[in-house]
Each structure stands twice: as C-alpha cells, then as structure tokens.
C-alpha cells in the first residue's frame, strides 16, 4: 500500500472510496446469472428486463444525473430498434454490428435534437421531448415501405459471434442482453465517476452557478444527451435482435412513460435505480397481467404513488437511507 504524503490524502481517499465497487454490487451481478439455472422458463422475460434496464439506465444519465426531464426517450429506443431491423432486412443480420449501427443512428439523431433540448427547461423541455417522440412515431408510421407500418418487420438475425444461435428458450437472448447491460453499466459507472459526471451533477444541483465557474454547460448537456441516445438505441436494437421483430410500439409514448416510471420506482441518479425499477415493473406487469390483463396499470399507478410519497429517492434511495440509519 502506498502511503499518502500530501495533505489532501484523506480527501483523495474519500473521493476514491466513492467510486469503489461494493460487495452488494458483486452479489447483484452474480444474482443476475440465477435465471439460467432457477427460472429457465422465464429467460425471455429476463432478457426483456435486461433490455428495459439498459433503456432505463440511458434515461437515468440524462434525467437522474443531468436533470433533463424527458418523456420522449422511446424515440431513440425505437430508432435503434428499426436501425437494427432495417440493416438485417437488407441482408446483414450480424447482431454486434447491428448494435453499433443502432448506436450511431440514434446518436446522430440525438446530436441533431440536442441543440433544441439544451435551449429549453422545465415544462417546455418535457413538451419538446414529448413532441419529438410523437413526431418520430408518426414518421415511422407513414413511411411504411421502410418500417412496415403497423405490421412492423420480421427479421433474420445471425448467431452471436457466429456461434450462439437465438434459441426458443431464450438462453442466448438473455446472455446477450445481460452482457450488453453489464457493459452499459460499466461505461455509465466510469462516466458518472469522472469529472464529466461531476459536471453533470453540478448542472442538476445548480445550473445558475455553472457559468460563474466558467462552464459552458450546454456543451456538457449535449454530450450526455448524445451518449444517452446511443445507449437507448442499443437497447432498442437488442429488443429487435432477441425477438426477431420490430413494431411501432418501440417508438410509442407508452414506452417513454414506462421507462420514466421504472426509473422513479427504482430511484434516479444512482445507476442501479433503473435496473431495480425495470425488474419490479416488468415482473409486476408479467404477474398482474396474468391475473387481470385489462387493469394491471391500476396497481402500477398505486405502487408509483406509494413510492413517490413514502420514498422520494425511489426504492434504492429508501433502502440506502435505511442502511445508513442502521449503521448509526
């Protein structure tokens, strides 16, 4: 062990400890492997959850860290989903390049729209993101020769790395989606623990101070918006590739709203909040819609209100507060 000699040693240690990998995190990732052995009949649900979690993580980067409230993020999810589908439709069904192309296309659209996004705030921002989402949905609807319109597209996806075929039970699907989520979390983790992550938190905490410390913070916002769009695009492409189909529903307002609900349930601004939220939301949907297919949103609504009222930091926020109280 190196001995700290500078006066700032303890502070350096404190900063380093903030980004340390915890035992809970390792346990969580080991637990994500359990479905392979414990619930092999639920692997397709598990892969849906992994995809939803990656999508929620992309929203957490803009909403939880940078404070950009969005109700239109399904546009990037859907653009990614269609990019992968259209690529496969034109004879290139290789899944990894599919993800890459989806990220690039979604990121490019994210870059163009970011110029509007960083110029508005509050209600106007929500309306702009909502509007962009609706616009994309109807564009996809009207260009049915490319997107298949309301019928969607069915595509042929090649085996992952040329070896793992997408099987009926979903072993490959879950393994593939889980690996993508893992890499996504690693990248997001690196990002939020960087000086850029600190700058984003600064914008969220008090954007009025940012120019006074010499920050042209709109550039930061544009950058994170593009990164988030790429990640959402990858999540969309994963859905296309693991199910072999794409439909307009990937672009729907419902999907934009659902992902925000997942994030708020789990707890925003904490990386794992979206993942926990996706697990709860999608399992609840699966269970509740079995019992009562028409009214299952009633329970989601109730759960959402309970969490927001009782645990303002979401489920993860509530848990970490409990743990801190126990430690004291």
């Amino acid at each position: 062990m190196r001995v700290e000699t500078t006066a700032s040693g303890p502070t350096q240690t404190w900063l380093r400890r903030r980004s340390r990998i915890t035992a809970v995190e390792i346990a969580f990732w080991l637990a994500t492997l359990l479905p392979f052995v414990l619930f092999p009949s639920y692997l397709s649900l598990a892969s849906q959850i992994a995809i939803g979690a990656l999508f929620a993580l992309s929203v957490d980067l803009v909403l939880g860290y940078a404070g950009i409230i969005t109700l239109g993020h399904a546009m990037f999810f859907g653009i990614g989903a269609y990019a992968a589908a259209i690529l496969a439709k034109h004879g290139w069904g290789e899944p990894l390049t599919g993800l890459l192309v989806a990220a690039l296309v979604a990121g490019a659209v994210g870059f163009v729209t970011s110029f509007i996004i960083v110029r508005v705030q509050h209600l106007a921002l929500i309306m702009i993101t909502l509007g962009l989402g609706l616009l994309t949905y109807e564009l996809a609807n009207s260009f049915s020769s490319v997107t298949g319109g309301t019928d969607g597209l069915g595509v042929e996806i090649w085996p992952v790395l040329g070896a793992f075929d997408f099987d009926l039970w979903g072993y490959t699907a879950y393994g593939y989606a889980l690996a993508a989520l893992f890499i996504g979390v690693l990248l997001a983790r690196r990002l939020v623990n960087s000086s850029f992550g600190l700058a984003l938190t600064g914008i969220r905490e008090n954007s009025a101070r940012m120019p006074a410390i010499g920050s042209t913070y709109r550039v930061h916002l544009q950058k994170i918006y593009v990164i988030s769009a790429c990640m959402a695009g990858v999540a969309g492409a994963l859905l296309t590739e693991t199910t072999g189909t794409v439909s307009l529903d990937t672009l729907s307002f419902q999907r934009s709203a659902d992902v925000v609900v997942m994030l708020i349930l789990g707890g925003s601004g904490r990386l794992y909040g979206g993942i926990i939220g996706a697990i709860i939301f999608l399992i609840a949907r699966d269970r509740l819609s079995d019992m009562n297919p028409q009214y299952w949103y009633f329970w989601i609504g109730l759960l959402l209100m309970a969490v927001v009222l009782v645990m303002p930091g979401g489920i993860l926020g509530g848990l970490s507060r409990l743990v801190r109280r126990e430690a004291r």
Binding site: S8, T11, N193, S195, G214, T216
Partner: protein
C-alpha cells in the same frame, strides 16, 4: 493610485423600461485594487456586477478586461478570461461536497470537465489544487461534508473558494459577509485581505467599518449613478455621502 487598469467600464447604462438602473457608470480597477462599492439599497450595486459579469447586457457603454472589449462576450467566457464573481445569496451546489464543488471549478478551468473516460481521482493535480484552496479558506475540515449541511459562514467561504478556483484576475464580491454575524464577518474579511496582491478585488459591503478598513478606493453609487469615487479618507469626510447614509437611516 498608479498601475494599469485591469477592468474598466465606460459609460455603462441599463434601463428596465423607463427605470434607469445604471446611468453612465465609468469605473476603473487597477491591478491589485481593493475597491469598495457602497450605496443605499436599490442603488444598483448588484445590477452593476450583473452588467460587468455578463448576466445583464448594457444598453450603452463598454466594458474592457485587460484592454480587451468584453461587452458582448458570454458570461462563462468572461470567467475563463479571469473575471469572476461571488453571489450575495448563496448560489452553491447543495448536494455536492466542498471538495467536489471546487474540484469541478478547477476542472472547468483546465478544460478537463468534459473528460468522461477519466476517473475523478486521476485528476490528482486538480484535487490537490482544490484542497489547497479549501485549506486557504479554512474549509479543509469540512471538505467532504455535503454543502447543504455546512454552517452558513462556511457556505459564504465556499462562495469565495469557488470563485478562486477559476484563478481570477478580477474578483467581484457581492456582499461576501451578507447574513454573517458581525464578529464572524471580520474573520471573513481577513481572508479577503489575504488574497494575492496582484488580484483586483471589487466588493460590495454595508458595514462601513469593514469598508474603511479594507478598501483602498471607494465608489458611492446612488440611484444607478456614481455619486463620488475617491480614497477612503475623502469619502469619510464627504458631506454628500453622509447625507445619503443619514437619509437612508431616517427612512429605513
């Protein structure tokens, strides 16, 4: 006063509708100035700081920093060129700790704040610098406590720490001791007095004892215009200044 002017305003004017909040204000700060801006409430002191820092755009007049015209330059760019302010009402990052806040300001200055691939602790020089600034302002013990939990006086010091992290040539302090108890405000001003000699400081302050103690030059602002600018002993004896302050005392 000798030396070249680092900051200069020439005939700066600002109107809100028919109300003139700044009227033909010309100021000149030499390198290393300790310049006080005083005047009754509503005289336009904070407005002038907002005009100098680019928060407000003047309707007429010119502002130069180190000889360069910055009248139309964006607020963040002015900070990068060495013109930094603090706020009368705390404008901090409540959820960040002092070390994180100052580190952010240092990273912004070094153009390292956009680097999302580098670990925060990898910016070792910046961390050391941020810590040194906190130490200079006696905030080193509170470095890892969330800003919202800091004592009010410490938050006032953090206001200055954030500004210092930008390495200003000109520092504008908008009532640095606002809301701080009298016995603590003297301590706060001793920190200000210890700032580098080549840094020009313009400060707004209501406590005349502190003004006369720390200012080497004083501008009195009344109703958006400069009433008088002079050395402290002349201001102290000026009957117009007395009248303004006595009049203020009668009304308020």
């Amino acid at each position: 006063m000798s030396g070249t002017a680092i900051l200069r305003t020439e005939g700066v004017t600002k109107k809100f509708g028919s109300l003139e909040v700044a009227r033909n204000i010309s100021l000149s700060l030499p390198v290393g100035a300790r310049h006080a801006l005083i005047g009754p409430n509503g005289a336009g002191k904070t407005t002038l700081i907002n005009l100098i820092t680019g928060r407000l755009k003047p309707d007429a007049g010119r502002i130069t920093l180190d000889g360069e015209d910055i009248t139309t330059v964006a607020a963040a760019e002015r900070v990068r060129r060495g013109l930094t302010r603090t706020f009368q009402i705390n404008t901090l990052f409540p959820g960040l700790t002092p070390i994180e806040s100052v580190l952010l300001a240092v990273c912004e200055r070094k153009n390292e704040a956009g680097q999302f691939w580098r670990r925060l602790t990898g910016h070792a020089e910046a961390v050391d610098e941020a810590f040194a600034i906190l130490k200079q302002l006696r905030l080193d013990d509170a470095a890892t406590r969330e800003t919202r939990h800091l004592a009010y006086g410490q938050q006032r010091l953090l206001e200055i720490a954030l500004a210092l992290a930008t390495r200003p040539k000109v520092l504008l302090l908008d009532e640095p001791a606002a809301g701080v108890p009298k016995d603590e405000s003297a301590a706060l001003f001793s920190v200000i007095a210890a700032l580098p000699a080549d840094m020009a400081v313009l400060f707004i302050e209501h406590d005349m004892n502190l003004v006369f103690k720390f200012a080497s030059r004083i501008t009195v602002l009344v109703a958006g215009a400069v009433l008088v600018e002079a050395d402290p002993e002349i201001i102290r004896a000026d009957p117009r200044v007395r009248e303004v302050y006595l009049g203020q005392a009668h009304h308020g």
